[in-house]
């Protein structure tokens, strides 16, 4: 681990530094993933640009459309924000199971996204919440829908020199509910074996009017279960439908076997966890068909 650290004084300064030092450069915020990867030798950069001084990126603002969460907000900042917890329970549920408190106090939401781990908890929750990522680069800022953002393990649409400035969350629609579930091998300090984020809204007739299902650790990136979403949309969620969805969702993911779990187990878990998440969001007992 050997690099030069450059402290960015402002967002434009950070971007200018990045251009000057390219390509052997990387942004660092909390460093909770990056330092480990650098020390293991998995990654190596001659230059790091320290964003931690950009206090303006560590604000959570409520807007008419929803929330704007600065990229430097930590997992703990999210967990302590009553408005976010009220409007998006899934986000708090995800932020609260990232590492220990030490990591939650340092690791940032921008870092969690930019790191683009297929198992990232907050990234999966945000995928389920239709977040929009505000990326800042030389040409100014642009908005990227989170569904498009992740392109592969550790890879995203961020262009060289671009950094995440903020995350936008739309205001939840009336009657909308959401949750985040995670399975690991321990009850804390876990990288997800499988995670599921669900957001759901029923219409007046009790049919599913809107649904997002996001999955972690069952593919090369955080995934949307588009097939299952389509299957459920417009239907009344009775027990038979939910059971069908729990099977169908296995086709929406491509889990792999690793030291944490087998692909087969992950597939089974995804179904069971979707069922749990649906039950949770529908609150009441599922009516029998």
């Amino acid at each position: 681990m050997n690099f030069q650290l450059h402290k960015a004084a402002s967002l434009p300064d950070a971007i200018a530094l990045s251009r000057r030092l390219a390509p052997d450069v990387r942004y660092i915020a909390g460093g909770t993933d990056l330092i480990i990867q650098l020390r293991r030798g998995v990654k190596s950069f001659g230059n790091l640009i320290d964003l931690s001084g950009l206090k303006s990126l560590r604000q959570i603002a409520e807007t008419a459309e929803g929330y704007r969460i600065g990229a430097l907000c930590t997992h703990k900042d999210i967990d302590l924000h009553s408005g976010l917890l009220r409007d998006y329970p899934a986000l708090g549920q995800a932020a609260r199971v990232v590492g220990g408190h030490q990591v939650r106090n340092a690791g940032t939401i921008g870092g969690n996204l930019a790191n683009a781990s297929p198992a990232a908890d907050v990234a999966v929750a945000l995928l389920g919440l239709d977040a929009v990522i505000v990326a800042a680069g030389e040409g100014g800022s642009r908005h990227i829908a989170i569904a498009d953002f992740f392109t592969g393990p550790g890879q995203s649409l961020l262009a060289p020199g671009e950094l995440i400035e903020a995350v936008l969350l739309p205001k939840p629609a009336p009657g909308e509910s959401c949750c985040f579930l995670k399975a690991g091998r321990r009850k804390a300090m876990e990288i997800a074996v499988v995670s599921v984020a669900l957001r759901l809204r029923l219409d007046n007739a009790g049919a599913i009017a809107d649904i997002r299902i996001a999955l972690g650790a069952v593919g090369p990136r955080p995934l949307r279960a588009l097939g299952t979403e389509a299957m459920l949309l417009g239907r009344k969620p009775d027990a038979a439908l939910i059971a069908k969805a729990a099977v169908a969702i296995q086709a929406d993911c491509t889990p792999r076997s690793d030291v944490r779990a087998s692909a087969e187990y992950r597939r089974e878990l995804v179904g069971g966890m979707l069922l749990r998440a649906l039950q949770h969001c529908l609150k009441a007992e599922i009516p029998h068909a």
């Binding site: 091998r185 321990r186 009850k187 804390a188 300090m189 990288i191 030291v259 087998s262 878990l269 966890m273």
Partner: protein, 755 residues
Amino acid sequence: MNMHPHRNQVNVGTRHKRIDALGKVTGATIYASDFSLPGMLHGRILRSEHAHAEIVALDLSVAEAMPGVRAVVTAKTMAFHRYGNLVKDFQVFAEGRVSYIGQAIAAVAADTPEIAEAAMQAIRVEYRPLPAVFDPIVAMQPDAPVLHPDLLQYKASPLADRAGNRSGRTTITVGDVEAGFRQSYRVYEHRFRTPPIHAGYTEPRVAVAQWDAAGIGTVWCNTQLLFDTQAALAEIFGVNVTQIRVIVPAIGGGFGGKLRIGMEHYALALARVAKRPVRVFSTSHEELSAALFRYGSVIEVKTGVDREGRILAKQARAIIDTGACSGSGPLVASTATLILAGPYRIPNLLLEGLAIYTNNHPGGSMRAPSGPMPNFAIESQMDIIAADLGIDPLEFRLRNIIHEGDLSATGQVMTGVGLEECLLKAADAIGWDRKNPENNRGKGLAIGAWMTSRGSSGAYLKLSADGRFTLMVGVVELGTGALTGVAQILADELSVDVADISVVSADSHITPYDFGSQGSRTMATVANAARLAAANLLGKMRPLAAKALGVPEAELQMRGKGFVAGEKSISFAALAAQAQMSAGGLIAEGTYIADPIAYDASRVRNHFSPGWPSPSFHAHAVDLQVDPMSGEITIKDYVVAQDVGYAINPSNLEGQIEGGVVQGIGQAISEELVQVEGRVLNANLTDYKMPTIMDVPPIRVVLVEHPSATGPYGAKGVGEPSCIEPPAAIANAVASATGKRILDLPVTAEKIARA
């Protein structure tokens, strides 16, 4: 040593606060990893990437030429002798051939850890792979690759019965098992597997070494065994033992994983070449891929019972995968035979312990090294049999457990047997009679016995002119509180406060010989040596006091930190001052070893531990819930009833038991070093799953006291055994909750869900 409580018992038996706590809560305690010397270099070790290969070429030139590199050491640098505690099959550096991934090939010392790392990476090794074997069952076949062709030429313990890939074989034979099986109503046969486990100490192994002008090599390190380390290093470097000095400033956990040399030999070798002090600190990756793990094993058990649920015969074998060097394997396999027997009355036994070489990384002696693997097997099978016979598992055990005066499998007469009381108390505390209140909820039991290891302890004791006593002992305070217990005992023996006792430990050139901090023996054995030293010192103090007071010795009484005779008195401080002026000062020593335990030699072959001094007995009971969707286990309650003989310090004993249980829970449900073809795939703490505080409930401890005949005040060894029973207790509870029986540890959520 007599078991009767001392007449002046003030501190013994109390929850006296630890004598080492203040430094630990303030950060002031200097651990081995905090130790440094001026001009100290930093060492790194190049380790094999191949499980079995010839080293065709080894190119050090780039590393040696790097600025800041001060030494590069390989097998060719100097004469290193083979070492090993039972069979001399370890090499410091590979010589022409590597036989496991993680085997040291070279070591580098440099000005900074970063330069050392870069130099290590710059060493080029060319390998030619050889056929390898990773499963001990396969390694036992006649056509398996042979790891040590010259095995019979190695120096070894005469009990290490070697042949082919076998470094040890122990048997116990009682009665006639075949006849027992013929008489049986039913016979059950199962095979269990357990993976290697890391001891999980929080302070990695570390050594700082320096050679002085007189040719004495000193290492500051975190070994559990000062004198074993001293002897091993002397052997490796071909010097006298007193040319090696071992000092342990303080140690951050051991649990058996720091019994044998880890970094010390590399640091000494590098320091000798560099002529500078060298520090070698084990990285997290090295710890989890190249440490002395608890052995993986295969356990086969065949048991015959009658209709009433009495065990008539048991044939079992424990196959210990030692990895490429035998380490503690022959001893672990040997002791495993007694765990296979279990604390049960069984008239016919044929038990076998085998230590088998494979191309996996060598293991060692984690806490109760022979305990959890066979216990998991036999106690799981007890529940399988009970269920099949329709007998309650508690009742089935009660029908078969040993009682006072029964013989062990080796023919030892068992005394101080508190097993039934433990079993009943644990069952009562967990609410055994109450049905499982919810679906997927279950309770499980497991019982066992363990020993208090023998081995010598020495103690020096001196009285200073401030009236305070200093005890010098050659053990390491592992964190068990053993030396607090010793100080409590000594304070009562000398009628002073615990604060009047200072304990100096763990410097091989100053403190007396000791077998070391292992085998649940430290408190019991060191205390007995210290008590003898106190008796000897009092034997010197009394005549001096009688003379000073002008009274007969018989009239002296110890009181108020001095001697009193009627109206006359002299304080210990004044006595020490007088003795320093006129009688050569006050110093005494004591040495102790437990008497050997009688057993029936006709029952055993090549047994390392046939007689168990001060055996301890334990019953574990757990109440847990299983999520039927994910298989995830939530432990609701956990109770241990343990026969500790006598609780010198109940708090510290509870702490030992609580900690051991949590290690056992880790082994039961989450911990395993996942090895594929000799490579550990989860060599980091992200994927090596030690229990967090969220994974365990508060552990409830019931102390049962059936005194030992030899331990101080009746105390038995307590440190190790609480990690033995959790895997079986939990597997049994999972079976009770779900009907699913898992025979391979760990009992993970995935295995339960997919069973």
